[in-house]
């Protein structure tokens, strides 16, 4: 696999081009923003029964956000917190990424210099969940 195809695997590009729940659902009251001022990536996450997102960003952050939304579906807040932490740790080199859905990010070395893109929405979501009144 070439360096190029390690980072931009077909599945990632497909995900980025056909992001899941990519819709500006202003009807949903609760929303948070995932924003990286260094590159301008900016997604609004609409947090209703289901999660939707909309905004602007690179292929990697877009695919990662899309996969996160799929991945969190049906999880309780507690489960979500746990598994987001685990994923972020995995990207930072502190553990394995084993979940089927997230396997494209299994090898963070292939994404050197782009870890922030992968983690963008995950960090925003985690911050939101941790600040919820329990």
């Amino acid at each position: 696999m070439s360096r190029l195809n390690k980072m931009y695997q077909e599945q990632l590009l497909v995900e980025a081009k056909n992001p899941y729940h990519f819709d500006k659902r202003i009807d949903i009251e609760e929303s948070i923003r995932a924003y990286n001022p260094l590159c301008g990536d900016r997604y609004d996450l609409f947090l209703g029964e289901e999660i939707f997102f909309h905004g602007f960003g690179c292929a990697i952050s877009k695919a990662s956000t899309s996969l996160m939304i799929k991945f969190l579906e049906g999880k309780s807040n507690e489960e979500a917190i746990h598994s987001i932490k685990k994923f972020i740790k995995g990207i930072e080199g502190g553990g394995q990424i084993e979940e089927e859905l997230l396997l494209i990010f299994r090898n963070p070395d292939h994404f050197k210099g782009r870890h922030d893109c992968i983690k963008l929405s995950w960090n925003a979501m985690l911050k939101y969940l941790l600040n919820l009144p329990s």
């Binding site: 360096r3 190029l4 001022p37 260094l38």
Partner: protein, 394 residues
């Protein structure tokens, strides 16, 4: 040009590397790297009136480099800092005693954050007003607006010489004329001109020029503040400690009168030894030809990018070897990652010039910045890669 590239070991380590991130940092000639090593291997000692041989040598390098730099850029005095950012922050702190709530400070929309945020903070501390000179869509400074913004309360005009995002070469002589004999300090961010646009520094008449070693084929961790004596005479020291005091009492101290009062502590002496060699290196190349070279490369690349339908920032009239571009749907960071797989090093982001990004309504762009070792065929390689990229992401 071949001969020049051979001076840079990085291209032996990475023969296929196309390094077009020179506005961010430049590569180092072997002589600079060796001067630093040699300093540590053979001379290493602290300065400040050392009496033994090694210390004398260090003292001499410290003094000689200062003098050579002044002669090279044809300025009155020179202070060593730790970089462009360090220089502006120290100046902004030190100039605080000349600024109050009636003053205004003029900067431009093209500033690098390091020549913007320190003044924002100074204005917040003092109540002074920060005034921003805009630019045209072409990426040219609005000199007429500058003229209007300037008045008798203007105390500082601090501006970038060459924009690190647009490549625009600002006209320092014109600004000097606009300032006229107002009681305002004229400060220049020379980070992008210190390496090969020496002539423009030599021929202009600002009160200070601020830049850093790593932008001029020299080491990181050292910077330069070229200044007129009259500016320095009015400034209190930046930092306090060893080497800048005369008499230290329990509750207060007296400071030296000469420029070393601005250089508290152990100076970055090994880096100064490297800087000395960097200046020598620059003085030995044909800078006129280098400037033509980077300008031609940038113009060619810009034309070919535009021919492919991509948007380049500004018009690139005075290009100093820099072209910034957006690739439509392809995000700048994806583009940079793609180009990296083709051994092309470029920077994506806002390049520490968020005001320029806002001006053009974008968040980020890809910047190609050339230096003296870049070659025409690299533009071919870049364009080839970009075409591939276009189809890859489509």
């Amino acid at each position: 040009m071949f001969a020049i590239k051979n001076n840079f070991p990085i291209f032996k380590a990475h023969p296929d590397l196309i390094f077009t991130d020179n506005a961010s940092t430049t590569q180092k000639p072997a002589a600079v790297i060796e001067a630093i090593s040699q300093y540590y291997r053979e001379m290493n000692a602290n300065v400040h009136r050392a009496v033994y041989d090694l210390g004398n040598q260090s003292d001499q390098i410290y003094r000689d480099t200062r003098q050579e730099i002044c002669e090279f850029y044809q300025k009155e005095t020179c202070i060593f800092t730790h970089g462009t950012t360090d220089g502006f922050n120290k100046l902004a702190m030190s100039l605080e005693n000349q600024i109050d709530s009636r003053s205004n400070i003029i900067v431009t929309e093209m500033e690098h954050h390091s020549n913007l945020v320190p003044w924002q903070e100074l204005c917040q501390r003092t109540g002074a007003e920060l005034r921003l000179v805009g630019m045209t869509d072409e990426g040219t400074l609005d000199y007429e607006q500058m003229e209007k913004l300037m008045d008798d309360s203007t105390r500082i005009v601090s501006m970038v010489h060459i924009s690190n995002t647009l490549g625009t070469i600002n006209d320092l002589k014109r600004v000097r004329k606009i300032i006229g004999n107002r009681n305002a300090w004229f400060l220049v961010d020379a980070a992008q001109s210190c390496a090969i646009h020496i002539d423009l520094i030599q021929n202009s008449d600002a009160d200070a020029y601020i830049f850093g070693g790593h932008k001029m084929f020299g080491p990181t961790g050292v910077g330069i503040l070229l200044a007129k004596k009259k500016l320095l005479n009015e400034l209190p020291p930046f930092h306090f400690g060893g080497g800048m005091v005369t008499e230290v009492e329990t509750l207060k101290s007296e400071y030296k009168e000469d420029v070393t009062r601005f250089e508290a502590g152990t100076p970055p002496i090994a880096q100064i030894a490297g800087l000395k060699e960097a200046v020598r290196f620059i003085s030995e190349v044909d800078l006129g030809q280098c400037r033509q070279n980077v300008s031609r490369l940038a113009k060619t690349l810009r034309a070919r990018l535009e021919a492919e339908g991509f948007d380049c920032l500004g018009k690139g009239q005075d290009t100093a070897g820099i072209v910034s571009v957006t690739f439509g749907d392809i995000h700048p960071h994806d583009a940079a990652s793609f180009l990296n797989t083709k051994n092309i090093a470029v920077r994506a982001g806002h390049h520490c010039t968020q005001l320029i990004m806002k001006k053009y309504g974008i968040q980020a762009c890809v910047r190609f910045s050339f230096s003296i070792y870049n070659r025409d065929q690299e533009v071919d390689s870049i364009m080839h890669a970009i075409k591939e990229m276009k189809s890859f992401f489509s």
